[in-house]
């Protein structure tokens, strides 16, 4: 029986604000998982703290709502102990780029086969709208008494520097496009990062749905000129593949940088990079533990039928033997 989107829904009452971008992301994740024909128990959704942190409770799959900033190490622990799991981590921009910044960087370095979705709305919603690490310098959203005194992080740049091997950006109100990104991110073997631009209808009165949609700049016929646009797959190829020359790779990186720099009048969404030349963490583990995939940590029988330890310590004792 094919898996339906409904299979990934729970009866838990959703308490996000009406119009919140989180709904678009939640629906996209559920649709992507269903379209991939995954069964709910094969999936574990991890989250950080904040509005987006509640996401797992609305998804009928294993759901782990963790600590502020710590979603990635929790998720990595789950994935490495049971590599059969499909692991999706979600978190806000404050969670991932602020308190969790160190984990974000180091997760890229490891290239564990999982997906991290960053809910980026520029504000700390649940604590009533303070500036998040991605809010641009000088911007004054609704509840800020003064304009933002810090420059905003560019999550795409940071993910590139950290070593994520799949980097994409979506928009919370373009669900069809976002579903496609999430599916590709999950299918990618390695650490995939999807930044999702998401209005906060309650606290971010600058980067609103209307702003992203260009409702403030209608042409003579009354048609809005949206700021968000999809990167053209013909003119921008994100693939870094084995056998490419250093020159080719450098060219790709330069394209990435100029594309990721765009903001304001034109904001690109789509896949920015897909690097197939870096080994994933599980491949690296296999070099140490050749049977890791057949007998991963979660599946190892650690005792025999009499509940005695499975480990035969004789060779270790022999190393320490003095007589």
């Amino acid at each position: 029986m094919p898996v339906k989107v409904q299979d990934f829904k729970t009866a838990v009452h959703n308490n996000w604000c009406p119009g919140c971008g989180d709904f678009g992301i939640l629906n996209s994740v559920q649709m992507a998982l269903a379209e991939m024909n995954l069964e709910p128990h094969q999936v574990a959704v991890f989250s950080g703290i904040g509005c987006s942190g509640k996401t797992p409770h609305y998804i009928n799959a294993y759901g782990v709502h963790t600590l502020h900033g710590r979603v990635l190490p929790f998720a990595i622990g789950g994935k490495l102990a049971n590599p059969e799991l499909t692991v999706v981590a979600v978190g806000g921009d404050g969670d991932g780029m602020g308190i969790g910044g160190g984990h974000f960087v180091n997760a890229g370095r490891r290239n564990v086969d999982m997906t991290y979705i960053l809910h980026n709305n520029g504000v700390y919603g649940l604590t009533k709208g303070q500036a998040s690490p991605t809010l641009k310098l000088g911007v004054q959203t609704k509840s800020l008494p003064m304009p933002n005194i810090n420059e905003g992080i560019n999550p795409l740049f940071l993910s590139l520097a950290a070593g994520y091997t799949f980097i994409a950006r979506g928009y919370a109100y373009d669900i069809k496009h976002l579903v496609g990104l999430i599916k590709q991110a999950i299918n990618h073997r390695g650490a995939s990062f999807v930044e999702v631009l998401q209005p906060c209808p309650t606290y971010n009165d600058i980067n609103t749905k209307d702003w992203y949609g260009g409702e403030d700049r209608k042409d003579a016929t009354g048609r809005a000129a949206p700021r968000v646009y999809k990167v053209d797959e013909k003119s921008y190829n994100p693939d870094i593949k084995p056998g490419m020359s250093a020159e080719e790779v450098n060219g790709k990186l330069a394209n990435f940088v100029s594309k990721a720099m765009e903001w304001g009048d034109r904001i690109p969404i789509g896949i920015f990079m897909k690097n197939e030349t870096t080994s994933s963490y599980d491949e690296r583990i296999l070099e140490r533990i050749p049977f890791y995939m057949q007998v991963p940590p979660a599946k190892r029988l650690i005792a025999d039928e009499a509940n005695r330890s499975s480990a035969d310590l004789t060779p270790l004792f022999n190393e320490l033997k003095v007589r």
């Binding site: 128990h41 782990v64 789950g78 102990a81 005695r308």
Partner: protein, 654 residues
């Protein structure tokens, strides 16, 4: 002067990274090869190269468990060792030193801390002596200490005659020479040293030959030059026992492998790191025949992950534990400080994650490579709010192994984070022991369900991960199990794991979690909670926990020989504390002493809180050094005589 046989406190010191450790291993192995028991304790600076490092090694016919305040024989690889330890040689003991160092003044000892330098200068001046190694040695000689100057350079040259010896090689050979000199003074069989060298340099014939030559030349030199009448003689004894020479970090690591810990995360920190590096180096090991029959897997493994910080270490281990794997992290006080928030998450989500905590001198960075038992109160209360946790403290290397196995059983059976409390003294001690027997501890996974059991449970409605039960323990399963979907959250939650703020549910969940600790207190056998040594009816009872055990046990033998009868209650299960059993064990004693390596007597306070019992004397130490047997003998004697203050502060150690 009367000689004794096979009872020795030997000390070797030198600059860090100069091969002090390899000399000690060689010495220990040579002694162990002759059927003798070894206990060694390492002291070192937070430094890569050059600072003073030393080992005290005790050799005996029977197992020993502690250091002494003074040494019988000191071997110095450098001038600093003579200055630092020169006054701590027993009268009639000996000093082996490099004869070319005698004219070295203390001002030319580069790394010595200025307090130590000034204090030693003051001492030498008060004795009317100069400022050189020779002066320090003269002072020792006056106290009856035998001197063994060895011209290492000349001996090396004699040996080299014709062949080039590279500097690094020469330094390594010098280590073997220092050991050879010791064994000559101790009149021990040089063949045992040869056996040890062969073991250490397995298959490397050239290196073995080179070392053996240096060893023979040195041994002969000492035998020809000095009288063979040293205080202690070592004689091999016949035994058929198989023995390991194991360090504390290794004992814990072996216990974790035996326990079936399959994921270990860590962030480097003294004195915990060696456990993780040992595990990483031994990450793949065979399964027993019986286990192979069940699983079909010939080998097992432990995945070791070095994380970006301690927060990632505990959260990653927690994530791994959620899959049903046994996972742990290993750290010291500063690292544990960072783990505290995540400990609370594991507490409210009833995750059986295990933390090995090696205490060191604190607070803050404190004394990074020195000893203390200062984190007891911290681990008991770590985290905001109230949640149960198990705290188990090991007292010696055998307990390190078996407790490392048991702590996973406790964690899983009671579904709560569990802290295995260790310390620097355990981490840096090594001992000869019979091989551990993992079959002594049966693996108990508690209410962990597999797929078939979960499917049966959840067929009508979902799986209630946090189902209310009489015991407080709910059934659990691993992430990815069909039919077992559950949710975790740091928020208060309902039986499925969804966020809830309902006051009734809150009360039920708080009580459910708390009940598990009562269950643990009821179920865990007394033999795993505490040990009672000596005469249970003795007038004097010593209460202690952790690594003080060895020094107390050794002290008890001396005290007994001197007619002082003592009962020693060593508590291992700190939380839940076996309050009633503890009360019964100490209530009738005339005199209660609590011994611990911290400032405030944290355990004494914990006992008072749970039993209402107060201590007559608190014997504490917080100079960053473990307790010696002698200190405890003296402190107990003082209190028995009724002449001791309520608080006795021990200060031995260099």
């Amino acid at each position: 002067m009367s000689q004794r046989t096979n009872s020795l406190a030997w000390l070797l010191g030198g600059a860090q990274y100069s091969g002090v450790e390899s000399s000690v291993t060689l010495f220990a192995r040579a002694c162990a090869a002759g059927g003798l028991h070894i206990y060694s304790q390492r002291e070192y600076y937070s430094n890569i190269m050059g600072e003073h490092s030393y080992f005290q090694v005790r050799v005996d016919e029977k197992p020993i468990h502690s250091i002494r305040s003074t040494a019988d024989l000191i071997v110095s690889a450098d001038a600093e060792t003579v200055f630092i330890h020169g006054r701590n040689v027993n009268p009639n003991g000996g000093i082996i030193y490099d004869s070319k160092l005698v004219d070295t003044p203390i001002s030319k000892v580069p790394m010595m801390e200025h307090q130590a330098r000034e204090e030693i200068l003051h001492y030498l001046k008060s004795k009317g002596l100069g400022e050189t190694v020779g002066d320090m040695i003269k002072d020792a000689e006056k106290r009856g200490v035998r001197l063994y100057p060895i011209p290492y350079d000349e001996l090396l040259q004699k040996m080299a005659s014709g062949q080039m010896i590279q500097l690094a090689q020469g330094r390594r050979i010098a280590n073997a020479m220092a050991v050879a000199a010791s064994l000559a003074v101790l009149n021990y069989d040089i063949k045992k040293l040869e056996e040890a060298l062969t073991e250490i340099f397995q298959g490397k014939k050239k290196i073995i030959d080179l070392n053996m030559k240096a060893v023979e030349i040195t041994y002969d030199y000492v035998r020809k030059t000095f009288k063979n009448d040293f205080l202690v003689q070592l004689v091999p004894i016949a035994t058929k026992e198989t023995r390991l020479y194991v360090g504390g970090n290794q004992a814990v690591a072996l216990g974790k492998i035996a326990a079936g810990c399959t994921v270990q995360t860590y962030y480097p920190i003294s004195p915990a790191t060696d456990e993780s590096t040992y595990l990483e180096a031994h990450g793949v090991f065979p399964h027993t025949r019986e286990a192979q029959d069940v699983s079909g897997a010939e080998k097992g493994s432990i995945l070791v992950i070095q994380t970006e910080d301690e927060i990632a270490a505990i959260t990653m281990a927690t994530g791994a534990t959620l899959t049903g794997a046994r996972a742990a992290t290993s750290t010291s006080g500063p690292g544990f400080s960072l783990m505290v928030e995540a400990l609370g998450w594991a507490g409210i989500n009833e995750v059986p994650v295990v933390v090995q905590l090696y205490q060191r001198g604190s607070p803050s960075t404190g004394l990074p490579t020195r000893h203390e038992q200062g984190d007891l109160r911290f681990v008991l209360h770590a985290g905001h709010g109230e949640f149960p946790r198990i705290v188990l403290a090991s007292g010696d290397l055998e307990e390190c192994f078996y407790d490392a196995m048991r702590i996973f059983n406790y964690a899983e059976r009671y579904q709560t984070p569990a802290i295995h409390l260790l310390d620097k003294a355990l981490a840096s001690s090594s001992q000869t022991l019979a091989p551990f027997r993992s079959e002594m501890v049966k693996i108990d996974r508690g209410a962990l369900l597999g797929e078939r059991e979960v499917m049966a449970k959840s067929s009508n409605g979902g799986f209630k991960r946090f189902e209310y039960t009489d015991s407080g323990v709910s059934e659990r399963t691993g992430l990815g199990t069909k039919g077992g979907i559950f949710w975790n959250t740091g928020d208060e939650h309902d039986e499925y794991g969804h966020i809830i703020e309902d006051p009734t549910v809150r009360v039920q969940m708080m009580e459910k979690r708390a009940k598990k600790l009562e269950l643990a207190a009821k179920e865990i056998p007394l033999s795993e909670k505490m040990n009672i040594f000596g005469d249970p009816k003795a007038e004097t009872v010593i209460l202690s926990w952790g690594s003080t055990k060895g020094a107390i046990l050794d002290a008890m033998e001396v005290l007994k020989a001197e007619g002082v009868n003592v009962c020693f209650v060593q508590v291992r299960l700190i939380q839940p504390l076996p309050s009633e059993e503890l009360r019964q064990a100490v209530i009738n004693a005339k005199r209660r002493l609590c011994i611990e390596n911290n400032f405030s007597g944290q355990f004494a306070g914990w006992v008072r809180e749970h039993t209402g019992l107060t201590m007559d004397h608190l014997i504490v130490k917080y100079n960053g050094r473990p307790m010696s047997m002698d200190e405890i003998v003296n402190a107990v004697k003082q209190s028995v005589k009724g002449k001791a203050p309520k608080r006795i502060v021990l200060t031995d150690g260099e």
